[in-house]
Amino acid sequence: MEIGMRDIVFLCVALLTTIPCLIVVFSRNVLYSAFALFFTFLGTSGLYFFLDAEFLAITQVVVYIGGVSVLLLFAILLTKNVDEIRKTNMISGPRMALAGAAALALLGSFLYALKGARWAMNGNAAYPATTIKGLGDLLLSKYLLPFEIVSILLLAVLVGSLVISRRSVQ
């Protein structure tokens, strides 16, 4: 099997996604986790590039790296007693082994299932749109209703966050 440039880059991107991911989970310092998450987002964005979803990749960078991660860091830094959080993020030995075994089993079954699966997406025919214009068209035509539901969803989330964040009832 020929290993081309593309494969090497893909490998790098994949590692960029997964290794920080592990750090997110296993780090005992929530701040490290947050930083690691930043790289995971970046890696994911790279994966989107490989899938020819350039718009999605850019959005990923803008929204998740530019917005979500920064917000997360702010939230952590504004929280009192961040140091204490560290102590709780512990997993006992046997439990870890069990979880690991389950995760491996899951991974194994996924790999088994996905190996040699025939997807409908051979070629680009089924890709509805990759450009911003195409996506915009789709969102306002075929997926108009889901698009609107998303806005309602965001509204509900807004109301919800209001409820949670308000100090107390008068």
């Binding site: 389950a102 089993a105 079954s109």
Partner: protein, 639 residues
């Protein structure tokens, strides 16, 4: 049609009025209630006359559940069997209602009590009148429910509440069998209507087998056995009889209602109703007969040593129900129902009379603290004696006719029948013994009463004694409607003949029949004499024997420790262990951990953010993930 619907509806209205307006009606609630059952009785008589004139009523009221090919109607059927049951239920219920006016006088739950009694009667009437299994099941569940409410009526007593629960839970086990039987009937016959089911019950069907965990079982046999499980629950047969003795915790009129007219007769009635099915399966019939015979003997042995006056009668009920099933099991269906009828009268009498005794003794139920009451409460004594003679099966009291008809049929039922006959006869001996042990301990000998109690002994008011006298009258006379020997004199059997399949003759050897009758009366008389010698003449004998055979005595006194066994097996064993196991494997942190977690949280609200991140959520997620893995693993099983 309207008057037939009114039979169950009148008690129901009585229930509504007494229940809803009890607060305002106070003791007048009783009038309403008695009016309800009395009305039902009047209409029942009218229905009985109609049936006797040849009108069989089978009408659907409205369609209850209609799902595709299954149609279940709310419909009533009044044939000969139902007519007999209606008479028994409404008549006894009326008398018990009247009696209760005196008995419950002054109780703070007076109107509530009558509301429950009405509801009980209503469900029993629904049970006997239903024209399909599902309507019968409504009544079936309903009487279970009411028994639970009524047994636990005096909830201040912890034992009463426990007894109520026991009755309900045991009955649920029986109901489980009944429901399964119903399910199988539906899959086999495609309908739940009695008429359609029985019309399809042919010998060809009986030959069909189904595979049950590798064992070939006849469909009909399986159906009958499942239904019989239901019957053992309601009619207190081995192994589900345990609730009945405890049911004594309720007020005495309730015991009378449960034992005489409603509830316990439901199982017998159901088996009789399904006679066309049962008669197709030898296995099922034999199981019914053997269970009945064993229960009859088993309960009688326990009855020998009990000291609580109501408990003795309770065990005698279990024993007598055993006889009824014995009769049904050998195909003498009408004899079984006949015994049900006579038993209803004398058992109702015995219970109400024992209530009168308890009433006289300010609530004392222990026979060791009674004695020499016969002069103080004469009427009660007289009726009690009549009831006991009927129970013992002495000619010409009611019990004699019905019990002998059963025993005669059993005797003629082949080799198994002969051995069951022996069992039945032994039981009859014991019955005579313990029922007169009760009489002698209560009414004869020296007084062993507390001084205070003795001082207050008084005869019950007429509102209680009149029903007793009526019942006593019937306990003497009702047997004559089922006269043996003389051709066509067995009115009862003739009346019921159209309902039951013709399985077996009583035999035609009149000489032998008379001989056996005399023999069984002699056996009963021996029991009475023996009781007299032991409990009046030489009262030391029982104690000596108890000492000598202390093992057996304790075993009997503790009712063979079956309660303890059930408790150990099911309550401690199954339920608690199972819950314990679940706690351990999956939920140890949920039940205990989370509760502790909550407790900690409340104390440390400021550290909320930290405590949110307890390990528990991770664990929940982990188990979800594990579930996913297992489900994916199922791929290898299904493909």
């Amino acid at each position: 049609m309207l008057k037939y619907i009114l039979i169950p509806l009148l008690p129901f209205f009585g229930f509504l009025i007494a229940g809803l307006f009890g607060k305002y009606l106070k003791e007048r609630a009783a009038t309403v209630a008695v009016g309800g059952v009395l009305g039902a009785f009047v209409f029942a008589v009218s229905a009985f006359i109609d049936v006797a004139n040849g009108t069989i009523i089978d009408e659907n009221f409205y369609s209850w559940i209609l799902i595709g090919n299954l149609s279940v109607n709310v419909g009533f059927q009044i044939d000969q069997l139902t007519a007999v049951m209606l008479m028994v239920v409404t008549f006894l219920s009326t008398l018990i209602h009247i009696y209760s006016i005196g008995y419950m006088h002054g109780d703070k739950g007076f109107s509530r009590f009558f509301a429950y009694l009405e509801l009980f009667t209503f469900f029993m009437l629904v049970l006997v009148m239903g024209n399909n299994f599902l309507v019968m099941f409504v009544g079936w569940e309903g009487v279970g429910l009411c028994s639970y409410l009524l047994i636990g009526f005096w909830y201040e007593k912890k034992s009463a509440a426990d007894a109520g629960v026991k009755a309900f839970v045991t009955n649920r086990v029986g109901d489980f069998g009944f429901v399964l039987g119903m399910m199988l009937i539906f899959t086999t016959f495609g309908t739940l209507d009695f008429t359609d089911v029985f019309a399809q019950a042919t010998p060809q069907l009986a030959a069909q087998n189904i595979d049950l965990l590798g064992i070939e079982v006849g469909i009909v046999t399986l159906i009958c056995l499942l239904l019989f499980v239901g019957a053992t629950g309601k009619s207190a047969q081995i192994p589900l009889y345990v609730w009945l003795p405890d049911a004594m915790e309720g007020p005495t009129p309730v015991s009378a209602l449960i034992h005489a007219a409603t509830m316990v007769t439901a199982g017998v009635f159901m088996v009789a109703r399904c006679a066309p099915l049962f008669s197709l399966s030898h296995t099922a019939m034999n199981v019914v007969a053997v269970t009945g015979a064993v229960t009859a003997l088993f309960a009688a042995t326990i009855g020998l040593v009990q000291n609580d006056i109501k408990r003795v009668i309770a065990y005698s009920t279990i024993s007598q129900l055993g006889y009824m099933f014995l009769g049904l099991g050998v195909g003498a269906f009408s004899a079984g129902i006949f015994h049900l009828t006579t038993h209803a009268f004398f058992k109702g009498l015995l219970f109400l009379a024992s209530g009168s005794v308890i009433h006289a003794l300010s609530g004392e139920q222990d026979m060791r603290k009674m004695g020499s009451l016969r002069r103080k409460i004469k009427i009660t004594y007289a009726v009690f004696l009549i009831g006991s003679l009927a129970l013992a099966g002495i000619f010409p009291f009611a019990g004699f006719f019905s019990k002998d008809e059963i025993l005669w049929s059993v005797y003629n039922a082949g080799s198994l029948g002969r051995s069951l006959w022996m069992v039945g006869l032994t039981g009859a001996f014991m019955t005579a013994f313990y029922s007169f042990r009760l009489i002698y301990l209560t009414f004869f000998g020296k007084s062993r009463m507390d001084h205070d109690v003795e001082h207050h002994v008084h005869e019950s008011p007429p509102v209680m004694t009149v029903p007793l006298m009526i019942l006593a009258f019937f306990s003497i006379t009702i047997g004559f409607i089922g006269m043996p020997l003389i051709p066509h004199a067995n009115l009862f059997a003739n009346f019921l003949a159209p309902v039951f399949p013709h399985v077996q003759h009583g035999g035609t050897d009149h000489g032998l029949e008379i001989g056996l009758m005399i023999f069984s009366v002699l056996v009963a008389a021996t029991g009475i004499v023996m009781a007299y010698v032991w409990y009046v003449r030489d009262t030391r004998i029982p104690d000596k024997l108890a000492e000598k055979f202390s093992g057996v005595y304790t075993l009997l006194l503790n009712k063979y420790r079956v309660d303890e066994l059930y408790n150990y097996l099911f309550v401690d064993g199954l339920v608690h262990k199972l819950a314990g196991v679940l706690h351990r494997i999956g939920d140890v942190k949920i039940v205990d951990g989370a509760v502790n977690g909550v407790a900690r949280l409340i104390g440390q609200a400021s550290e909320r953010g930290r405590k949110m991140q307890t390990g528990f959520v991770q664990e929940y997620a982990f188990i979800m993930g594990l579930g996913l893995v297992v489900l994916i693993g199922m791929y290898y099983v299904v493909k």
